[in-house]
Homo-oligomer: 403 residues x 2
Amino acid sequence: MIDFPYLSNICRTTSSKIIMVVVDGLGGMRHPKYGMSELEAAKIPALDTLASGSSCGVTIPVLPGITPGSGPGHMALFGYNPVKYLLGRGVLEGMGIGANIGPSDVAARGNFCRIDSEGKILDRRAGRLDSSECKRLVELLNRIELDKVQFEVYPVMDYRFVLVLRGEGISPSITETDPQVEGELPNKSEPLPGLPNMTANAINEFTQKATGVLKGAGSEANGVLLRGFSGLPSIPQFGASYGLTPAAIAAYPMYRGLAQLVGMDVISCESTFESELRVLKANYIGKFDYFFIHYKLADSAGEDGDFEMKIKKLEEFDAHLECITALDPEVLVVCGDHATPSYTSSHSWHPVPFLIKSQYSEGAAGASFSENSCRLGSVGSINAEQLMLSVLAHAGKLNKFGP
Amino acid sequence: MIDFPYLSNICRTTSSKIIMVVVDGLGGMRHPKYGMSELEAAKIPALDTLASGSSCGVTIPVLPGITPGSGPGHMALFGYNPVKYLLGRGVLEGMGIGANIGPSDVAARGNFCRIDSEGKILDRRAGRLDSSECKRLVELLNRIELDKVQFEVYPVMDYRFVLVLRGEGISPSITETDPQVEGELPNKSEPLPGLPNMTANAINEFTQKATGVLKGAGSEANGVLLRGFSGLPSIPQFGASYGLTPAAIAAYPMYRGLAQLVGMDVISCESTFESELRVLKANYIGKFDYFFIHYKLADSAGEDGDFEMKIKKLEEFDAHLECITALDPEVLVVCGDHATPSYTSSHSWHPVPFLIKSQYSEGAAGASFSENSCRLGSVGSINAEQLMLSVLAHAGKLNKFGP
């Protein structure tokens, strides 16, 4: 939670409702070939109109120049210091699929892979195994028995799975078996210096038994790789910290997992943004006064390096906006967890535009929803971790600080 | 080093090269008499063109309103917290002239001064003694013997010298003898409360014996003043921290000293910027992937309160730029350690413009290289300590942070 010790003293619960839409990979940079960013090139009349009547700015997700993963990107938007509350990959993936991870459990991200007769990795993704095959193989893995440790394996998507270890003395402080390159042997897991080797031993035993089980399975996959060993961090709850009753609506597993981790009620929905919007509408009247809703497709197009597709996905988002504005929330926030410029085909370090629309907004005629326009907006450039404070302020949910 | 504990996890060594030109005292403020800053008044077509195709911004050296010395100014540009890694003047001057300062030694900045018959200071700089005379007097000082402490005196320039104390139990925690005003007696050095008085005693003994030695030397100088007692701080190495192989090219001693202190290879050059440029060119192909190169003259003109001269020195720098751009580095940075407005005739607190040119730069048509134009650039206003992160990002030398 943001480093402001008097937060709980000044938060005020009111009837006003906040909808915070996180457009994944929202921001971009000027693509040298087109002389514009995707937001500048997109026809997004609803966002532009909204921006001209909103308090606009840009968020720096972690630090200038630092490119965040989705975990730190979202944690910062929720008001958590993304360095202090860095989540492990195992936990993040596990939470996303609703895996049952207890406070002393350890989760790991697993890949089904293909290895050669010497045990060297031929394909870290086993030909990008499909999800149904993944499910079948996970059932086989769940039949394994380990000497001292309980575990559960969950299918994720394609070639990915999550392993959750349970038992007394389990520790995430062990090395990964996935070397993240091909042509090499998987690593043996080892405890970090000076720590007991029980967990590492269990991982090595699991890996070996998995290879045995997969041998007779008639699959492209014949091995497993594990990384991102991590436990649940102790995290202040979002709702209690801000005096909010928060709900999360996200089609993609990882974002549901993040929301659950910070203590939001995750409302289930199908795997499209349209479904998210229907769920938002259905739950708008009721106990929740904060809704986190996640739009994934801008990021995917950016990751693919597809300038035109990212524009298209932003335009589609724009067309959906009226479903949200029709609810007439006291505060509407459109923001992003990080930039994903199609020029870099990856997440990037660039500041991410946002808008906050409420009765307290200060817009500017002619403003548009783009990196350059928002940078010059009334809020200016802030750390993403501070955004929630501005959001609460715009909702009338913060009292004066100090006498 | 910047407070980001995962830096070493995300730094990536690549073949791309970075040239970072520090224009000392680069920034300014609008001079009331001329209605413009020096950068605005100067004809600097090369910088303006570069700026229009670069990611621009301004750096805040320490905090808004805080005027830094050259030490904090440079430490921040190199990514070090300028408060945490504050260097003593003795160390700074000593490093600059290649003085041999060991990890437990104490260095002090010395002035040759003129005192009257009562011992009061008539002139803190002894008529701005010339450098050859300084050298001669330093030889005399080096013949002094102290009871318990070894020492070495080094000439610096004009009336300035450096004293390095060596021996068991030496401590920099003593008071200065230089009162930094004229008409008063020099102070006796004393240990800070509760600390042993050995070092202060040695300093007082040295001061007394120096007065004796100088009496017969037939010089304008007949006394010494000491300040800035300091030892070498423990500093994370620049190269290892960023995964870089750094070189420093600086005509002026203090900047070579700073670079050496953070672990850069200091390449020797003569005392002009032209010589620095020749050395840069001669060393560009080879092991180094980061070059710090220092341009001093803008600061000197600002310190002299000479608006026209500062413009001239900026224009001369501009004319030299093509020697650097001709090397076609993957990243070119032009930045400054602090502002030196001719209106204040001194360092100042004003934010300092910078530009970062690389394939990832985002410029703006019509941008120029000035305080006001850069402030509106795509990077905006950042702490100087964060600049290196943006530089590394523009060099493609940072991986994603977190899953």
